[in-house]
């Protein structure tokens, strides 16, 4: 499988790219490092949404899993004192995955706007519970301050940065292999014609359930990673519908063309927002909205479509 992965051009270049990024992180100013880290963390969730989007589904409720992941990390630290990043990260994925697996039985029967809105409803239930429950921090949430790696208590964020990069590489590789497999290939087919897929002999509900589970795990991982990177969880930044909306926003801004796109898009978004915020603290939404419109107009394929051409050209040059 490792060989199969290395044979894939996208994965090969992504691994190299991420490796360089990890190395560069050593030299980057902290604020850049932070923004990249936030972007990468969100990129994980966006990668999950990309898997869904390729099959024509858009979820307005993935903040549910994002939030579950983030809260898993925060609660684990607060109530058990466990701080190891692998444990935290694993817990985030596990909790989100379990929830996604269960809700998947319901959501796999929905499509289009109804899928989107039912997801939203579920996520808002979690939001409501969090806001109500003081033990869960209500709207204030918690801080997530410590992390350790196999007992080592590092200083600064650089090790965490490397960890998140590692997580991204693993996620990206797995998703790319999945998308290229027969099962992943079904993605577009289902969007185009479910009836035919059924008649070919595959259960559409099952295929969607699998995708949903993948996206839930990735969103959980993203929430967990962001909670650690940011040091803070709270319902409004992790579970509210605006968070889901933002993830969808980045997904489309990035483009569905490649598994690398979500990470690029999320990082771009992070910087766009940082600068918009800096330049126009009273009108930053205007800048973000304007950029959004511009992207939709001039790059309907997302940011990826800018990179796609040189990328495709390489392909023909090489082979």
């Amino acid at each position: 499988m490792v060989a199969a992965a290395w044979n894939d051009k996208t994965i090969r270049w992504a691994v190299i790219g991420f490796g360089l990024l990890a190395a560069a992180g050593w030299l980057l100013p902290t604020w850049v490092l932070n923004n990249v880290m936030f972007g990468l963390a969100r990129g994980l969730a966006v990668l999950g949404l990309l898997v869904l989007w390729r099959t024509g589904l858009v979820s307005f409720g993935h903040a549910l899993y994002f939030g579950l992941g983030a809260y898993a990390v925060a609660l684990l630290e607060k109530y058990t004192g466990l701080t190891d990043v692998f444990v935290k990260f694993g817990a985030a994925i596990l909790v989100a995955g379990a929830c996604g697996f269960l809700l998947g039985f319901v959501l796999r029967n929905y499509r289009a706007i109804f899928f989107a809105m039912l997801s939203l409803a579920f996520s808002m239930v979690l939001y409501g519970v969090l806001v109500k429950m003081e033990v869960l921090g209500s709207t204030d949430g918690f801080s997530v301050t410590h992390y350790t790696i196999f007992g080592w208590n590092p200083d600064g964020k650089y090790p965490l940065f490397c960890f998140i990069i590692l997580a991204c590489v693993v996620a990206l590789t797995l998703v790319q292999l999945y998308l290229k497999s027969a099962l992943g290939f079904l993605t577009t087919a289902i969007r185009d014609n479910e009836l035919r897929v059924e008649y070919l002999g595959y259960s559409v509900a099952r295929a969607i359930h699998i995708k949903y589970l993948i996206s839930a795990c990735l969103a959980g991982a993203a929430g967990g990673a962001l909670a650690m990177a940011l040091g803070q969880v709270d319902p409004d930044s992790m579970v509210n519908w605006t968070v889901s909306g933002e993830l969808v926003f980045i997904t489309i801004m990035s483009g569905a063309g490649s598994v690398v796109a979500p990470f690029i898009g999320a990082i771009v978004f992070e910087f766009l927002r940082t600068y918009a915020f800096e330049w126009a603290p009273q009108a930053w939404q205007l800048i973000v909205g304007g950029t959004l419109l511009a992207i939709i107009f001039f790059l309907p394929g997302g940011i990826w479509s800018v990179l796609e051409k040189p990328w495709a050209k390489r392909e023909t040059d090489n082979g």
């Binding site: 209500s138 709207t139 204030d140 940011l230 040091g231 800096e278």
Partner: protein, 407 residues
């Protein structure tokens, strides 16, 4: 050094901008300009912050705690500010505090009220020039019991988020401790924040036998509530006590009903509008001149944070004999006690990081002749009466019946 860069966070967009963020920023801006120019009244007439001019970088507090954590990092790590001031939302204060500690950056919180900031851990780099919210609710209970002894029970309408939940909880506990035989309603209302439509809630409150209604609504929510309740004759029937609805008194003007108990979380705003104490008079005067409105609570709160920084830096400079570094400034700030634009403030809790000051309430009254809102029957409660002694957890202290309170 002749300039310092200071990040100042307050809501510049969204629903909290009008009632809190912009008045707060204006208060800061007014005072910063005056300090830079050396035009503050005595004893603060000396120009600058230890002689340096402050370059304020205003940022928007909207967008949620997580985003603010990121923005805080950007302020410190990217824009290299010398200190950070401000913050209105309790959640955001909770969120940026650990980051401030991590980044070791002097941060002065201006408005937020949750006691948890300093009671969950000892802070080194974070200060708050505003007293915490437990005192607001205790003072409210005192005022109610002083003025409306024979009211029949109480209920509340508060927004469904930490601030609203805490405010009512503190008020409820304080009432239960101070007047165990008053009836607490079993159906207090917690509508969603920014819901805007309160028809159903007003019906519920009307049907409730309780006469007194506590609310920590602010901004558009209190304004909408007042408008909707007003047509329904709600205020004829119920006594409303509002802890932070001050902005509505001015925005609604003569439409705002008389007889509402109104607090400002300190010696600020409406309650001290006609107070002739020179610093306050200067502040009200200049603010009105520049922004064509009365300063609200947050205007004072931000101005006080700025002033505290100036006092500390000046003192530190004097002591060090040179431009003070962050440690020196913090040492001077710790435990500081100063005459602010609204009364005296002392950083006497949490090892000199958390402020206490009197908190008062008054009753709204429209002054026809002046065409302005006023407060009558204003009464302030002293810190010894409403805050837990240093080192104690204030919620536990409140629940224990406020032992040792001197009122």
């Amino acid at each position: 050094k002749d300039t310092i860069n200071v990040g100042i966070a307050s809501f510049l967009t969204g629903p909290a901008a009008g009632p809190f963020g912009v008045p707060g920023r204006n208060g800061a801006e007014l005072v910063i300009d005056a300090i830079n120019a050396g035009t503050l009244p005595a004893p603060y007439a000396k120009a600058g912050f230890a002689g340096a001019k402050m370059n304020a970088i205003f940022i928007d507090e909207a967008g949620g705690n997580a985003k603010q954590v990121g923005e805080y990092r950007n302020l410190v790590e990217k824009r290299g500010v010398d200190a950070v001031l401000g913050y209105i939302s309790s959640g955001t204060c909770m969120a940026v505090t650990p980051v401030a500690e991590e980044l070791k950056k002097l941060t002065i919180l201006s408005v937020c009220g949750t006691p948890r900031v300093f009671e969950e851990a000892q802070r080194t780099y974070v200060f708050r020039t505003q007293a915490h919210a437990v005192g607001d609710s205790i003072a409210a209970a005192h005022y109610v019991l002083d003025k409306f002894k024979d009211m029949k029970g109480y209920t509340g309408i508060n927004q469904n988020y930490a601030w609203g939940q805490d405010s009512y909880k503190f008020f409820d506990v304080a009432m239960k401790k101070m007047a165990p035989d008053t009836n607490a309603s079993d159906n207090p209302q917690f509508p969603k924040i920014f819901a805007g439509q309160y028809g159903t809630e007003i019906s519920t409150l009307s049907l409730d036998p309780a006469k007194l209604v506590h609310t920590s609504f602010w901004g558009g929510d209190i304004e909408a509530f007042v408008l909707q309740a007003l047509v329904r004759g709600f205020f004829n029937d119920k006594q409303v006590i509002s802890s932070v609805g001050g902005s509505a008194v001015d925005s609604l003007g003569k439409k705002f009903p008389d007889g509402v108990v109104m607090g400002t979380r300190g010696e600020y705003g409406l309650l001290v509008r006609n107070n002739k104490e020179p610093l306050n008079a200067w502040f009200v005067e200049e603010y009105k001149k520049r922004y064509d409105a009365y300063p609200l609570g947050p205007s004072y709160q931000y101005a006080n944070s700025v002033l505290a920084l100036k006092i500390a830096m000046d003192a530190a400079a004097e002591k060090a004999g040179s431009f003070p570094n962050q440690e020196q400034t913090m040492a001077a700030l710790k435990g500081l006690s100063w005459q602010s634009f609204g009364g005296k403030i002392s950083l006497s809790l949490a090892d000199g990081h958390q402020a206490v000051h009197p908190v008062g309430y008054g009753i709204t009254k429209w002054d026809k002749e002046k065409g302005a809102a006023t407060a009558v029957d204003v009464k302030f409660y002293q810190p010894e009466c409403i805050y837990a002694p240093a080192g104690q957890n204030s919620v536990e202290w409140l629940e224990a019946g406020m032992p040792g309170a001197k009122c």
